[in-house]
């Protein structure tokens, strides 16, 4: 069973009126681990997820989830995967526990078992105290956790998380990441979409970059980052008149052209990896050029896009 692909899409096309939201999407995702789908708003991530989770029918192409065709055998697909959508799918007018009992009952748990399962999940997701409260009074992070808990009332073989951390504060985001890791550790395959390279980098074993409804790059996070370098080192020197000296040192150590910023004390340079950046900063200190601060910025999705497509990532209105 493990040899069958979690997701296999070939030539999937989806139009909305005149817009081609998905334009010949090909994907092959093996079981196990986290697979990241990276792209800007409007790239077609959500549309792709909606097709794979049986919510939308593709206009052309074939999509299979765990070996089952999403249009011909939606029921077989639904019984093995679950979706935590971008927009909350929990019911505001019910309490947390009622939301979970409701789903448990639909899956076929007895009343008692559904309740026990709901309490177990609430407890695991740090919602035990909020369980009896109406969901409309929950914070964004709590709501997202309940939404994920709703997706694992019955542990799925595959879970789709559509931008699970968008709009969350850093702490809630870390909690979601922990949950994703727990899912993988327990053997569930996770497919997650994100706009953040950092998130894909932290979690995913492989990443597909999507643009205009197509996969434009696929590989491990390292493969992708290799195409753009690991980011930019920015240094601010203490004395403006030492900037030129600093520039020379950085160019020597890193072998890259150093960009002189508008700020007369600041410099930036692309670096291939963090180790080299550390060396360069150390070299400045060794040469007695005092610095106020330095930072290493992760390459942004924009930079990845620029490197892959030669144009900046467009953020257009997401069609679905």
């Amino acid at each position: 069973m493990a040899s069958e692909l979690a997701v296999e899409a070939t030539g999937v096309v989806k139009h909305f009126g005149d817009t081609k939201a998905i334009d010949g999407l090909d994907l092959a995702v093996a079981q196990g681990g986290v697979y990241g789908v990276l792209g800007p708003n409007g790239a077609g991530k959500t549309t792709a997820i909606r097709i794979l989770t049986t919510l939308l029918r593709p206009d052309a192409g074939v999509a299979r989830v765990l070996g089952h065709d999403v249009t011909k055998e939606p029921d077989a697909v639904r019984s093995r995967m679950s979706l935590t959508g971008q927009f909350s799918s929990v019911d505001d007018d019910l309490t947390g526990i009622e939301n979970l009992v409701f789903l448990g009952r639909l899956f076929g748990y007895s009343n008692r078992d559904a309740k026990a399962r709901a309490l177990q999940l609430l407890d695991a997701f740090g919602l035990a105290e909020a369980g009896a409260k109406l969901v409309k009074h929950y914070s964004g992070g709590m709501r997202r956790r309940l939404d994920i808990a709703s997706s694992i009332v019955v542990t799925p073989d595959l879970i789709f998380l559509d931008e699970p951390t968008t709009g969350l504060d850093p702490r809630s985001r870390n909690q979601v990441w922990d949950v994703v890791r727990a899912l993988v550790a327990e053997g569930t395959t996770v497919i997650l979409t994100t706009q953040y390279l950092e998130e894909a980098d932290q979690l995913a074993g492989r990443i597909a970059v999507i643009d205009r409804g197509k996969v434009i790059a696929e590989g491990t996070p390292n493969d992708l980052k290799a195409s753009v370098g690991s980011g930019a080192l920015r240094v601010r020197v203490e004395q403006e008149d030492r900037r030129e000296a600093a520039q020379a040192t950085l160019e020597r150590v890193l072998g890259e052209p150093v960009i002189v910023d508008a700020d007369p004390a600041s410099l930036s340079v692309r670096v291939a990896d963090a180790d080299r950046a550390a060396l360069a900063v150390a070299e400045l200190t060794r040469e007695g050029i005092p610095i106020v601060n330095f930072s290493l910025a992760q390459p942004s999705l924009d930079e990845v896009f620029l490197a892959l497509t030669g144009r900046p990532a467009e953020t257009t209105e997401d069609a679905a």
């Binding site: 989770t53 049986t54 919510l55 029918r57 029921d75 639904r78 019984s79 995967m81 679950s82 979706l83 959508g85 927009f87 909350s88 799918s89 929990v90 019911d91 505001d92 007018d93 019910l94 309490t95 009622e98 409701f102 789903l103 009952r105 639909l106 899956f107 076929g108 748990y109 078992d113 399962r117 177990q120 999940l121 407890d123 695991a124 997701f125 740090g126 109406l134 709703s150 694992i152 009332v153 019955v154 542990t155 702490r171 870390n174 909690q175 922990d178 949950v179 890791r181 727990a182 899912l183 550790a185 327990e186 569930t188």
Partner: protein, 284 residues
């Protein structure tokens, strides 16, 4: 950001210990065998009732609305139309019951449309269930609301002096016929609820249908007082036939033709609009 930093590690540790529980919960999520379609429908019905429990304000339409209608029409028209209020009530009450409950069915589509916008539908649509149970369940919940409205109206009627010859059995049977019809009729709203873009647009469209259909009927006045060209329209209005049937049953003298007609119409409505709803839902 900086002020939050000192407290963060501790809170994070707290959730880290929860992660073991998340893993344990994941391990325990074994799949039970699939429940029956009836059980699924009742689960959806149960959810609908829970929502009434949590947001009782929404019962305004099934409590205040009928009370206003009964009082308004009884006292406004009673004297003029039938000579006395009590006398008019015997004629009007079954009709008001029909009108109110038929009107309330509009909210079925309204609720459905709102839920689609909110994303709760994505969850149910990705569940391994027989999908039409979503609607059957919602309509079962609505049937409970219709029953509530009927009880309110009949109770108020009895207080005001409604004394049907059919007695309690007549009132129960009449209400039952009305509920059957409304359960089947509501499928029009589920279909519209899926098609229309917003709850507001849907309400507009529903009003366009419901208002003429309930008012151009024999609920308030005997059609023989109307102009000749209007009479056949009013007599063949489904709501008139329904009102005549309910009125007859409550008076202890069930009109066979109208009762059969209402039952046949119910069968036709549900067998056309239930599949249409399912079809639109699957294609959405």
């Amino acid at each position: 950001m900086t002020t939050a930093t000192p407290t963060r590690p501790r809170e994070r540790d707290a959730f880290e210990s929860d992660i073991d529980r998340v893993r344990a919960a994941l391990g325990a999520g074994t799949r039970p065998s699939r429940p029956s379609v009836i059980s699924q429908s009742f689960t959806f019905g149960w959810r609908a009732l829970l929502k009434i429990k949590h947001v009782p304000e929404q019962l305004g339409d099934v409590t205040m609305f009928p009370i206003m209608f009964v009082l308004m029409f009884t006292y406004l028209f009673g004297g003029a139309l039938a000579g006395s209020v009590t006398e008019y009530l015997q004629f009007l009450l079954p009709g008001i019951l029909v009108q109110t409950v038929v009107m309330i069915t509009m909210y079925t589509g309204h609720t459905l449309n709102k839920e689609i916008q909110r994303g709760t539908f994505d969850r149910t649509r990705t569940l391994p269930i027989w999908q039409p149970t979503v609607f059957i369940g919602a309509l079962l919940g609505d049937a409970a609301r219709y029953t509530m409205a009927s009880t309110v109206i009949l109770t108020l009627g009895l207080i005001l002096g409604f004394r049907p010859d059919g007695g309690l059995p007549g009132m129960v049977l009449g209400t039952l016929l009305l509920l059957v019809f409304c359960f089947c009729f509501s499928w029009i709203w589920t279909a519209l609820g899926l098609i229309m873009r917003s709850p507001e647009a849907l309400m507009g469209a529903s009003m366009m249908i419901i208002f003429p259909v309930t008012f151009v009927s024999n609920i308030f006045v005997d059609p023989s007082t109307m102009p000749g060209w209007l009479q056949p329209i009013v007599e063949w209005n489904p709501v008139s036939l329904l009102a005549t049937a309910v009125r007859g049953i409550m008076a202890g003298d069930a009109p066979m033709f109208e009762v059969m007609w209402v039952l046949a119409a119910s069968v036709v409505l549900i067998s056309v609009f239930a599949p249409v709803t399912s079809y639109i839902y699957r294609r959405k």
